[in-house]
Amino acid sequence: MVMEIVDILEKILILAGMVTLGFAIGMLFNGIARKVSARIQNRVGPPVYQGFIDVFKLFGKKTNISHGWIFDLAALFSVSGIALAFLFLPVAGYSMLSTDGDLFLILYLLAIPALGFALGAGASGNPNAAVGVMRALMSMLAYELPLVMVMVAMMVYYNTTSLANIVAAQANMQWAFFIPIFFIGALVADMALQGMLMEKPFDIPIAPHEIATGPMVEFGGKHLGALMLYKMMGTVVETTLFVDLFLGGGVVLSVAQYGWLAYLVNFAVWFVLILIVFLIAVMIDNVLPRFRIEQALKFYWKYDALIAIFILIWIFAGVKI
């Protein structure tokens, strides 16, 4: 009995540590993205730890203005929901809770913070926030179609819906990225990732110059701090999802063979891979203008989804029943 409790406590500690690590990486990524954008624009840019400073400052603000308890739900749901989604992802082949859920669960867990956030934005009563949420939901509808098509193709190909199993199937460097059909799939999913990360040309929901940062317009102080945490962690979760699907989760050494060294190397590779995936998105962000929402919908449903349908047909013809 005592051993069991110790085990559970150990597990909880590890999970808490991983979530903290996730948030830390998210904040670091925010700084890196700003630094890289600055370098692309021939500027010096802020220090890479700017994300930490911003979040800390926001939580340190003296007055915090709320618009009632529904408004407060946004901060609670967004932080806890995104942390939960992170727990269900295999990170560098290390499975936290990912054997207790699967890809569908992750897709729907990602909706918890988004809906919570939308709830808060709606409760703020600012018309800009409502328009921003509408755009966010529409762009979600837009990018999810090609994304789920590629995901379904992968699930059928690997005959599992569990992300942990998909990562395990890609062990020994047999990454889906190197299979020609899923190389195309990775490109399709990367387009969807651009929308998921809300980078240009799909930063329609935020659009600071049109609708004053959309859903975040009434948030400030600790509320905005919580939302920043959500957005920063979101980049980690979404890039990790991509890396898990196509790049084998960053697993290069098998744990059974190399022990703790494998964990170390895998985590390093995972970090580099999500950084690369993220930086590609940031670089695209820096050279493109913004779509209108119906243009984004048409882009995803016409071109991106068309390629995804090709992948589906390929798998449809190739898979034995």
């Binding site: 939580f59 806890s80 207790d100 699967d102 529409m138």
Partner: protein
Amino acid sequence: MLTEVLVSLLAGVFLVLALNKYPRVAGVVAFIISLLPFMAVLAWAGTMGITVPSYLKFFTLETSLTYNLGPGVIHLAITPLGWFFLMLLASVFPLTVMFANSFVKRNAGGFYAAMLLTMFGSFGLLLSQDILSFFIFWEIMSWSIFALVLRGHDRRAIVSYLAFGSLSAMLILFGFMMLYYKTNTFLFADMHLTATPLTLAALSLLVAGFAVKGALMPMHAWAPHAYSRSEEPFVAFLSGGLSKLGFFGIILFMYGVVGMSVISSWGTFRGVPWFGYALAVIGAFTAFAGTVLAVMQDDLRKLLAYSSIGQLGYIAIGIGIGTPLAMTGALFQALNHTFFKAVLFLAAGAVFYRTGKWKISELGGLGYKMPFTFLAALFAIFALAAIPITSGFAAKWLLYEAAIQKKFLFVTPIMLIAGVGAFLYAFKILYGVFLGEPRYDVKEAPLSQLIPMWLLVLPLVIFLVIPGWFVDITAPILRGYGMQPIQHTLFSINTGLATYNTLAVIFGMLGGLLVAFILYKWKKQEVVPHIDNYLAGEPPELYEHIGMHASSKYFEPFDEVFGPIFKKGAERGWEIVLSAAEILGTGARKIYTGIVGDYSIYVLLFFIILVGWWLLW
């Protein structure tokens, strides 16, 4: 005792009719009588392998009963499938009657009488074991629904329900006639059908007939009108409970009467029978189109009606795929839909009761005024959008898993994208009705409306925590059709493709909420009224004419993209059928000239043909 239950249900109809002058008394009487089916469910629970504490068993009921009515014999018996659907209907029914107590003002006795008669029909229908009694009870149920639709005083709703109700009855009757012609028996148990074209035709007709009640496309055209123009307590029961009877019929005849082996012997496609595959594709199309149409609606009831159509499509997908996983998913979805859609319709009713408005663009800001209604609706919306903090997720998840298991490469993305579409209209309800600019200074809904809503939320929580129990409940149904129940423990389900452990999700979410709460409560905050956002301190009188609530034409870009494709698509199709029927009808009308000489020629021609037939044969 079963006879007494049936008779008292029927007697209740006349009792509440007699009490028409005292609506409150009629309401209480109707509520007491409406508890009878639920007591029956509890009494039968033991035979389904569910232990019920003795203080919840009010009487014992025989499991089967036969009435000999001279020309026909009525066979009633409780089956696992019938019990499951009876449970759904009987749990929603008393609560909607309770809600009606404060909601229905006009001719309340008639309302309760029709409601009780509907329940009487459904009760008999779910127990009937032969096609004769099935049809009789089906018609009782159908016509009492018509009586309730009539109360809406909307011509379009009445005419479309009448047309589709009759169409459904005709299709079912023809199906039954074919079955009887083939087997020469009324009893389901004695029908040993073989894989012949006639069976296929009969089954297709039956499924098409039941699809009307289940609002599957293209047989859904009546539903948006009837759902949106009737009284809310009845619509909650219609959408939550009665629409499931269509799926009860489909499951009963597809898997119970005809059987999986016969369906499979008509040919399979990628490991799934053609028949089921077609049903699944229709279901997926319904799920998607219903969702898209729901996003475009401005009328709260119409939005909920289309959302109902979309959600029912998922059940058809599950029935079509027909694996144990899919069947469990379909039944789970039926259960979830029963409860969350009833809550949503009742919440819409409560909002109407307080504000007198149905249009989403005219509502707004009720979340702070009616917090309990809002929370119940929020929870139902979470279940509708399949957010994993309600039981709504488990059902959709089972269906997705079943589709992936059978390698449905094109249906699965449609299901998933329909699920995303559900977020869109879910937020439209949330924002348009409950969030944003406070426009009405109203009180919370009365207790007699809040209690039903919150009781209906309860199952969504229970089956979130223990989905394994649901699999246990449905296990007898699956075993009856020769399927093995899926692998599960109380808190987790294993499909062979993946595992879903609710404890991990719940404790993860609770832990996350705790941490977020601590992080959040660290700093104090002050609450600022909404008017401060809109006007930034300007005097409010200056801005009275400006609407600050951005909810009219909320998804305008969406309408621009999907509107031309989807709006009125199905209805236009039916209008073509209608005009064709009109042309045929006017053509046939010309035979009746009104001249006696013509009629005598017809009679003569008829006799010549008859005699000629007789001579030639």
